[in-house]
Amino acid sequence: MRITFPHMGNLAVALESIFSSLGAQVVAPPLNKETIALGSRYAPEGACFPFKLVLGNYLQALEEGTDTLIMLGGNGPCRFGYFGNLAGVILQDLGYEFRMVILEGDNFLSQIASLGEELGAGWRDILRVVRLGWYKLAALDQWEALVNQKRAVAGSRVDALYLKGVTLLGQALNINDINEGLNYIQNEINNCLDSSTLKQTPRIAIVGDIYMQVEPFANHNLARLLGERGFAVYRSIYVSSWVKHNFWPPAKKREAQRLLKDAKPYLCSMVGGHGLDTVANTVNYQRQGFHGVIQILPMTCMPEIVAQSLLPKVSRDLDIPILSLVLDEHSAQEGLITRIEAFTDVVRHRYNMSRSEIVGSYDFGK
């Protein structure tokens, strides 16, 4: 079985580890310009950027001879839950032969079991490799969070350490290896700086659609762009945190209640996708004293448009700069950088003003 799955940030590393340990051949071409070209050629014009990337990635994999496509389902009302079905009919129409496995909540386990059976793996093997994949994903996300926060003061050294960590994970065969690697890399990153400098860095939070947040190719590596300009970057969602909040019903309920409480009175209902999360987390970051928030969304994303139209009011009421970045296949990096720099200038100016009141000196710019 030659298997493929759409790229989505660190998830690809975990899935590749899971399927290859089960004995499947993994075909996972990386996202590049060709993905965008293929995706926007065959996807409906008005579909969102993530769908175009998913479709383009499938087309690349099919060209490389894959026969099984894996996709997650869902219950909307975000379009994500229909990605698999629509990609399936489009690819069929193009004349490809393949099998589409859409993992839906109600028959998730049976689908996994039948996939395992085909690969000759029992439940014990599946549990073992899924656990290993999960630890890898969690480790990567922890590093990424750390790197995003410290890049501003430690410079590109942390990126090199992160890449070193990815290589370590590739060699890890059991959970002990992962934990050792985790401790090692975390210590190294922390050694790059002394903690006193971190306190003086202005903090920017990224909120918005999950795919645009976790896939650096889709967001032009926004976290790095901000880090290079001297900001500690925090992200509202990582794939592992999403899994933690969604696969265990009581946790899911708790998280939903927290979001509804935080988003009040701006948004009083779930709107699908991460629309409610965006509003709630923005309010939350303001309470934690963040200096700016960037919302990132693909063009025509329905839940995020609801959030986008509420954020100006949040910004006015709570006095926090917010930038909404709408990206799609046509976004050029230079234009994006100009907008980010205009925003970060505002954030830095406000940050310096607030500090000048405390320390008595005021330095304009950096």
Binding site: A43, P44, E45, G46, A47, C48, G73, N75, G76, P77, C78, R79, G81, Y82, N85, L86, V89, I90, D93, Y266, L267, C268, S269, M270, V271, G272, G273, G275, M299, T300, C301, M302, P303, I305, V306, Q308, S309, L310, P312, K313, V326
Partner: protein, 329 residues
């Protein structure tokens, strides 16, 4: 003096207006509808709404602004579900509509934004009416009676659409004026088209550039999703691998499959620019029509800049092509 309840003439208006009009009138309220869409209404909406929203949502902002000065309450329920099908809800913009309007348009009269979630069971509609009645200071008993009257009016309205095969806009006109318009002579029509799309785009004569009337003038019988009896649509639903999550898109998709079975001459899908569900549904109808072979299909996307002449040219070209194929010219 009677309390004035404002209902924007947009979005769900075309689906449920008879129910709510009868309900509020039975509760001794005055119902004020915003004027029919015009350039001014659209422009004021476009100015206020977030740039990335679809044109129906922008238009809705305009309709709410029209009502702002005239009414004591604006009726703007949060639509979550209106039937028993699970996993079917509305587009996120509908779910967040009251919050969206409140954040964008300041100084509005109070909104009646009760949640309409009929999936909860057959009694939910009565509970909803009692909640709304309470907001307006009416007794539960009065609200229940008003609800019953509203349901009767709604049934009558839907029956008019099915039996006379008129569009919801025309049916609303009949209900308003208490008169039945004479049906057009059948022999005038040489072709029949399914014109599919959201009720709030097709029935809004301004935003759809009066497409229905233009098609009829070209000798085309216009069929819409509302003219298909509900059980026939549900029968089509079983042929789809997975329900769509959006009520109106489900209606469009199922009606498209129904009309393909009925062998209509052509299908026109009217989509709104920037509409999320439409992007998916349009492709699915296109591929379905292609797979069945020789079902002419056209997509017309409308937005706030849609020009009348451009749409007319496309409609004429589509009709001419079909007449040529059928040997009518």
């Amino acid at each position: 003096m009677k309390l004035r309840i404002g209902i924007p003439r947009s979005l769900a208006y075309f689906v449920f207006f008879p129910f709510w009009k009868t309900f509020f009138r039975s509760l001794d309220m005055e119902v004020v509808i915003s004027p029919a869409t015009s350039k001014g209404v659209l422009d004021s909406g476009v100015k206020e709404a977030v740039a990335d929203a679809c044109v129906p949502i922008k238009l809705f902002h305009g309709h709410v602004l029209e009502l702002k000065e005239q009414v004591d309450y604006i009726f703007l329920p949060r639509l979550v579900s209106i039937n028993k099908e699970d996993t079917v809800t509305f587009c996120p913009k509908f779910l967040g509509l009251p919050d969206l309007i409140r954040a964008t348009l300041p100084n509005l009269p109070p909104l009646i934004d009760e949640k309409v979630d009929l999936q909860k069971g057959p009694w939910e509609i009565y509970r909803l009416c009692v909640r709304i009645g309470r907001v307006l200071g009416k007794s539960p008993w009065a609200s229940l009676l008003a609800c019953r009257k509203g349901r009767a009016a709604q049934q009558q309205y839907e029956k008019i659409i099915w039996q006379l095969k008129v569009t919801p806009a025309e049916a609303l006109q009949m209900v308003e004026k208490y008169q039945v318009l004479p049906p057009a002579a059948e022999e005038e029509y040489q072709l029949s088209f399914a014109v599919l799309g959201f009720p709030y785009t097709i029935n809004d004569r301004f935003i759809s550039v009066d497409m229905v009337k233009k098609l009829r003038q070209l000798g085309v019988r216009v069929l819409t999703a509302e003219m298909v009896p509900r059980q026939n649509l549900l029968a089509q639903a079983r042929k789809l691998p997975k329900n769509l999550f959006w009520h109106f898109s489900n209606q469009v998709m199922r009606a498209a499959m129904y009309f393909m079975d009925e062998k209509v001459d052509g299908i026109i899908h009217v989509t709104a620019f920037g509409c999320g569900p439409d992007a998916m549904v349009n492709k699915m109808i296109e591929l379905e029509a292609k797979a069945r072979g020789k079902i002419p299909f056209m997509n017309i996307t409308i937005d706030e800049h849609t020009g009348e002449a451009g749409v007319l040219t496309r409609l004429e070209a589509f009709v001419d092509m079909l007449k040529l194929r059928r040997g009518m010219i």
